[in-house]
């Protein structure tokens, strides 16, 4: 029986490439946002960043499945596309978590605090403008937000973030892997 070539190395390579690209984009957005004055809008670049990065992450599976489909002797089914996409998403979650850990703990440990201060000020402005909540409720929301940021710095918070990344990146890469397998499939 003819053995299919392995997709693990292309998956790791694409996860590394896309992971580095996504980290650079998120750092550019983060630094440019915290360097500006808070607008008091709920819908700023930082709101878009988390899920935007995850959706852009689906490119990793597209690249891996597309490259794999071009290899000799490969006949792709959507099941192959799903598995390749899922594994690529897993590698991508590992890469982005490691890079963000290294940046936030070794290169610029003050970044999380700067982000927290920006987000808290932005929310204060938002509540001031909208006037939708009373003083106590606003304090509660802002307190929860600060607690959330502080939790992200702990090992438990990092592991939780990693878990959510695995689910999010796994799902979007599984879907994009299946669709790419369908698009690249030969008649």
């Amino acid at each position: 029986m003819e053995q299919k070539p392995s997709f693990i190395m292309p998956a790791i390579t694409n996860a590394l490439l896309v992971g580095v690209g996504l980290t650079v984009i998120s750092l550019v957005i983060t630094y440019s946002t915290i360097g500006s004055e808070p607008s008091g809008s709920m819908f700023g670049p930082l709101t878009f960043m988390q899920f935007g990065i995850c959706l852009l992450g689906s490119i990793a599976a597209i690249l891996t499945v597309n490259g794999y489909a071009k290899m000799d002797g490969v006949e792709l089914t959507i099941g192959n596309g799903a598995v390749i996409g899922l594994i690529t998403g897993l590698f991508l979650a590992i890469v982005t978590t490691i890079l963000s850990y290294v940046w936030n703990n070794m290169i610029d440990p003050s970044l999380m605090d700067s982000m927290k201060n920006y987000m808290v000020k932005n929310m204060e402005l938002f509540f001031e403008k909208s006037g939708a909540m009373s003083g106590d409720a606003v304090d509660q929301v802002l307190g929860d937000m600060e607690k959330g940021f502080d939790e992200q710095k702990t090992m438990m918070g990092i592991l939780k973030g990693f878990g959510y990344s695995i689910i999010g990146l796994g799902v979007v890469n599984l879907i994009s892997g299946m669709i790419t397998a369908k698009i690249t499939a030969k008649d």
């Binding site: 899920f51 995850c54 792709l76 089914t77 959507i78 799903a82 959510y164 990344s165 799902v171 599984l174």
Partner: protein, 154 residues
Amino acid sequence: MNSDTKWILVLIGILVFILLSSLSSIIGFPEWIQHFSHSWLQTICHTNPERSYTLLGERMILCSRCTGIYFSFTLGLISSFFISFPKNLRTKRLLFLASCIVFMLVDVVFDWLGIWSNSNTSRFLTGIVFGLSLSFFFFQLSKKNGEQLDGTKT
């Protein structure tokens, strides 16, 4: 049941899981499931409550656009078991997907530039069309209308 059918069923299962997660507070799931759903859905959607639909007095977690995408993608995949496409439409599916992405980007960018103000309805509709265009890739292709090809290979 062939391998492709099984994987389409897995995909439908994942999409139903996403939609149920979004409805967790409406269905009345325990607090920890609602918290988990909110946290993980934030990785695939901005989950801004101002842009989400309200059902039975509770907000959905996914925004109106994502709700449209996942809902129509699920319905489209279910329909793929009953409807087949003529084979000459194969390449047009990619064109349709590209048009839907442009259509959605126009809705987002024009709103951002202040040219047009989008609403939950416009977001939901662009999402519906995009989700459908994704599901079209999983439809069986027939040489002519109604004539099925072997479904064991993609």
